[in-house]
Symmetry: C2
Subunit: 97 residues, 2 copies
DNA sequence: TTGAAATATGAACAAACATTCATATAATAA
DNA sequence: TTATTATATGAATGTTTGTTCATATTTCAA
């Protein structure tokens, strides 16, 4: 007897899934999964343009999937919490079958 | 040391998340979560137009998130497998905090 | 065979979005 | 200050997509 979540919860779920459902952002999330990394490192490892990565990092941050801290001129991004990990794991398992 | 999934896997993950990341489709998935239901029942319980529900059911089916069987004029939809449940659970938990 | 009920489909449209390009801002070093 | 490195931002654009409206198809009963 699972209930349908409230409109508010459903909307929040929709937003989270929307943010996660982009190739570039998925790749970013994996790149910073184990340790926080600077934007320039993320740009290298993701293999996308600096502008695109910066735009998408902003999307991820606005949705609270990542947090940041600054060191000098560099900005380090990391996953916000463990839910993001769980989400990626479940989706990856589904995809790998 | 989590590896970045292959391009193919990432694309599949992107597609799954995309399909899940819509308000109407999320609601449909919850409506048929416990038992399979006919389109007309889904339309009622979701509270969207028949056309919209039908279109979105098609999207869900194409992505293999749901399966169908026919009884007379009615078509019954149900969740394809348990991954869908797990995915919704993880996302819902994230949203509820 | 007509009619009604259930479901699917196609066109049309506005809104959302990913990406690129050019440029701005911030921090530091020389 | 000036130059350089790191990051962010804004405009522009082409594509995708959610929704509606109208209509088609299927199934079965009368």
């Amino acid at each position: 007897m699972s209930e349908i979540p409230s409109e508010k919860i459903l909307t929040m779920m929709e937003e989270l899934l929307n943010v996660a459902s982009d190739y570039t952002r998925l790749k970013i999330l994996y790149v910073i999964m184990d340790e926080d990394k600077s934007v320039s490192t993320i740009v290298e490892e993701v293999g996308a343009s600096q502008s695109l990565v910066s735009h998408q990092l902003k999307v991820l941050k606005k949705a609270n999937l990542v947090t940041t801290h600054k060191e000098g001129t560099k900005v380090y991004y990391k996953l916000a919490d463990d839910h993001v990990n769980s989400l990626l794991k479940v989706v990856q398992e589904h995809a790998e079958e």
